[in-house]
Amino acid sequence: MAVRPGGEYAGRPLNIIWMLDCSGSMAEGGKIEALNNAIREVIPAMRKAAEGNPEVQFYVRAIRFSSGASWHVATPTLLSEFKWVDLKAEGETDMGQAFALLAEDFRNIPSDTRALPPQIVLISDGKPTDDWKGALQALFDVPWGKRAVRQAIAIGQDADHETLKKFIDNIERPVLRADNAEQLVRYFRYVSTAVAVAPPGKETPPVPVAASIDESAW
C-alpha cells in the first residue's frame, strides 16, 4: 500500500520524577552517599527492565529539596541517556516547596497529552520544615499530580511516615522504610524497575519482602 495512514508513530512517554531530601540530616551516617550510590546502581537495572517495554519512552527528572526546592535535573532526559550528578546535603527539609514546584510544572502539561501517568518517588529522612499540607493539596488538585503513581521511601527511624503516607494517598501502597544502605538500594530498585517493567495501568509486581532490620544503621 502506497500510503501508510497518519503521521509519525512514537512510543508513549512516561515521566519519572525523583523528589530527594538533601537536608542537613542526610549528611549524617553516610545517608546522602548511600542515596547517590543507590541511584547510580539502579539506573542500569532500570534500563534493563525498560527493554521489556520498547513502546514506552522513559524520561527521568529530579527535584532536590533542603532550604527551598529546585530542579536537580530539569530537562526530561531519556533513561538511556541519563547521567547522575551527585547531590550534597545541607539545610532544612522544605518538602512543601518541592510539592509546589512539581504542581506548577504539571499544571503546564496539556490535557490532551498521550503520556502515561508519571511516577513520583519521594525519599526523605525527616520531618518537613515548611507548610507542606497546602502544597500537597495543590499537587493533588492538578490532574497529573492526582493521577501520578506516588511512592515513598523513608530513610531511618526519624523520617515522618505520616507525611509520606499522605503523599502516597493509597493504603495499598505502603511507605518503604530503609534502615541501611542495602535496603535503600533494594527499595529504590524495586520502585524504579517496577514502573519500567509494568507502566501504570497494568499489573504491578508484589512488594519485595523486607530485609532483616537487624542491621539498622539509620
Binding site: 495512514p5 497518519g6 503521521g7 508513530y9 508513549r12 520498547p54 513502546e55 497494568k202 499489573e203
Partner: protein, 524 residues
C-alpha cells in the same frame, strides 16, 4: 445511500509479550427494516488492569448488544424524535443483562479471584465480588447511519472521527478533559449511561463520507494529535484510489505496525464509508495537491450527481444485458438437451437395445441438493435452479449437501461434526463456548454464529488461531480473532490441535417452515 463497513482488530505488541489477550472488540450490522435502511458500527476496548480480568468478554458483549439495541431503537422510532440519552440507557441495561447472564453461566473461579488478590490486594478482590461488572469493564464507541440521521455515542476513551468529501477531518464529540493518563469512564461504573457523550446530525445537514471509530491504542501510537488526525484524509485517499477490498486486506497489517512502533496496546479500527466514494476522486486529488480550499461544495455535489447518473445508466444497461443473456442461455440449454435426447435416441436404436435388460437408465445427481419446501422463490436463479438434469426435490436423500453459493431452504440446518465426538447445530446468533466444542478450558463466548448479508458465518471470538480448510481440498487459511469463517458444506475448522469440526447440512429432524433462509456463499 449505501454504507459499508471495514474493520480490523489487532492484539497489542505489549499484550503479546505479557500474554494478555486482545481485549478490544468490534461488530456491525446493516439492516433494512421497513423503509429504514441502517448501518450500525460499534467498537469497544476492554480495560487492562487486574480488576478487569474479564474485559475481553465485556467488550465482546458490549459490541454485540449495542448493535442490536441501536438497530431496535432506530427502527422503532417511526418518525419520533431520537432520544440518545434513552438509547444510552438501553445499551447499558442490555450490557449489564448480558454480563449477568455470562456470570450465571461462568461464576468467578477461585483462580481468577486468587490472582487478583495476589496482584492488587484484598480490597481490589472485594470490590469485584461486590460489583462483578467491574471484571467486564469496557468502553464503547458507536456510529449509526440511517436515511434521516447519523448518530454518535461515546463512553470512555477512544476516538470518533468524521471525514468530509474534501478530506477535512473532525471530531463530532468533543474530548473529555477529565480523561488523562489511562483514565476512562466505563460501562462497568454505576449509572454508566450518564457518562455517554452523544450527538446527532440530520442527513439534510450534510453527511461525512467516512466515519472512523478507533480504540485509544491507535491515537496513542502517534507522536501528536496532528499526526493522528492525518489518518482521516489518508484512509479516504486509500479507499478512493485502491478500493475497500485492498484496504480491508491491508488494515490488520497497518494496525499491527502501529502497535509495534507506537502504543503497544490493542488497536481496533472500524470504518463506516459511503459506497459512492470513488465519485469524488478528481476533487480530492485536486485537494491533496494543495487546492483543497478552492474546491467548492457545489463542484463535489455536481461530480457526485453526475457519477450517480452514470452509474444508474450503467446499471440499467447491465440489467438489460443480463436479461438477454439469460434468455440465450435458456435457448442454448434447450437446444443442447434436445440434441442430447436425439443422440441418445439414435444410439439406443442402433447399438444399446440388445444390451439393456429392461432396467431404466438413471442420471447420477452431480450436485445433490435439498429443494425448498413451501417457499417457491428459494432456489430460483441458483446454478441448479430449474435445470432439467437435476433430480427432483427430495431425491438426494436426507444427508444432502448444498454446493457453495446455493440458497438453502428453511428446513435445512447447519451442523458441525466434532472430531472429539458429537455434533453441534449452528443457528444464527448462537454463541459457541469451548465446552460446546469439547475443549477442556472454559471460555464463553468462544465463537458466535451469525448471518451476514444472508450468509452463515462462524465468528472467532477467541485468541486461538483456527486453520480453515475449505471444501474440496482447497488451500487452508488461518483465521484469527474477529474473523468470520463462511460455513460452507465440507469446510473443516481446526480450532486447536486435535479439535476439528466439519461443516455439513441436512434436513431438520422436525419440519419447521417458520425460519428464514440462509445462503451459503463465499465471504464478501
Amino acid at each position: 445511500m449505501n454504507w459499508r463497513v471495514i474493520n480490523a482488530s489487532v492484539r497489542g505488541s505489549a499484550h503479546q509479550r505479557s500474554g494478555l489477550p486482545n481485549q478490544d472488540a468490534v461488530d456491525y450490522g446493516s439492516s433494512q427494516r421497513g423503509d429504514a435502511p441502517m448501518t450500525v458500527l460499534a467498537v469497544s476496548d476492554g480495560h487492562g488492569g487486574g480488576r478487569h480480568f474479564r474485559s475481553q468478554v465485556g467488550s465482546t458483549l458490549a459490541v454485540h448488544v449495542t448493535v442490536k439495541a441501536v438497530q431496535d431503537y432506530l427502527a422503532g422510532l417511526a418518525g419520533a424524535e431520537c432520544d440518545l440519552s434513552q438509547l444510552s440507557q438501553q445499551i447499558v441495561d442490555a450490557w449489564v443483562t448480558a454480563v449477568k447472564s455470562d456470570l450465571a453461566h461462568n461464576p468467578f473461579s477461585e483462580a481468577e479471584l486468587g490472582a487478583l488478590e495476589e496482584a492488587e490486594g484484598e480490597r481490589s478482590k472485594e470490590s469485584v465480588v461486590e460489583r462483578p461488572e467491574l471484571a467486564y469493564g469496557a468502553t464503547l464507541l458507536v456510529a449509526a447511519v440511517t436515511d434521516e440521521r447519523i448518530i454518535y455515542l461515546q463512553l470512555g476513551d477512544g476516538d470518533i472521527l468524521t471525514v468530509a468529501a474534501d478530506g477535512t477531518t473532525a471530531r463530532p464529540i468533543a474530548a473529555d478533559e477529565r480523561l488523562v493518563g489511562n483514565q476512562t469512564t466505563s460501562l462497568c461504573q454505576p449509572e454508566a449511561w450518564r457518562e455517554f457523550r452523544v450527538t446527532e446530525t440530520a442527513t439534510s445537514a450534510g453527511l461525512p463520507v467516512l466515519v472512523l471509530l478507533s480504540t485509544d491504542g491507535y491515537v496513542n501510537s502517534f507522536r501528536s494529535q496532528e499526526d493522528f488526525l492525518q489518518i482521516g484524509q489518508d484512509y479516504l485517499q486509500i479507499l478512493r484510489e485502491q478500493g475497500s477490498e485492498v484496504l480491508s486486506d491491508e488494515l490488520p497489517k497497518i494496525l499491527a505496525e502501529a502497535t509495534q512502533q507506537g502504543s503497544g496496546d490493542d488497536i481496533t479500527l472500524g470504518l463506516l464509508h459511503m459506497q459512492v466514494l470513488p465519485a469524488a476522486q478528481v476533487a480530492v486529488n485536486g485537494a491533496s495537491a494543495g487546492s483543497k480550499s478552492k474546491i467548492s461544495k457545489s463542484v463535489i455535489i455536481r461530480e457526485l450527481t453526475q457519477e450517480r447518473s452514470t452509474q444508474e445508466k450503467k446499471l440499467t444497461e447491465l440489467e438489460t444485458h443480463y436479461a438477454g443473456a439469460q434468455k440465450h442461455v435458456l435457448q442454448l440449454r434447450l437446444a443442447v438437451a434436445a440434441a442430447v435426447l436425439v443422440a441418445i435416441a439414435l444410439l439406443t436404436q442402433q447399438y444399446w437395445r440388445p444390451w439393456i435388460s429392461g432396467k431404466p437408465v438413471k442420471t447420477p445427481p452431480t450436485e445433490p441438493m435439498k429443494r425448498p419446501k413451501g417457499n417457491p422463490d428459494v432456489g430460483k436463479g441458483g446454478p441448479a435452479g430449474g435445470d432439467p438434469l437435476t433430480p427432483p426435490p427430495g431425491s438426494g436423500g436426507p444427508d444432502v449437501k448444498p454446493a457453495t453459493g446455493v440458497p438453502v431452504a428453511a428446513d435445512i440446518e447447519c451442523v458441525m461434526t466434532l472430531s472429539g465426538g458429537g455434533e453441534l447445530v449452528l443457528t444464527d446468533k448462537k454463541p459457541v463456548s469451548t465446552t460446546d466444542l469439547g475443549l477442556d478450558d472454559k471460555k464463553q463466548p468462544y465463537a458466535l454464529v451469525k448471518v451476514l448479508s444472508g450468509t452463515l458465518f462462524l465468528k472467532n471470538l477467541s485468541d486461538d488461531k483456527w486453520t480453515v480448510t475449505p471444501p474440496k481440498g482447497g488451500k487452508p487459511s488461518t483465521n484469527v480473532k474477529m474473523d468470520n469463517v463462511p460455513l460452507r458444506a465440507g469446510t473443516i475448522i481446526k480450532f486447536r490441535d486435535g479439535a476439528l469440526g466439519t461443516v455439513a447440512y441436512r434436513s431438520k429432524p422436525s419440519k419447521d417452515d417458520a425460519g428464514g433462509t440462509v445462503t451459503i456463499a463465499p465471504t464478501e
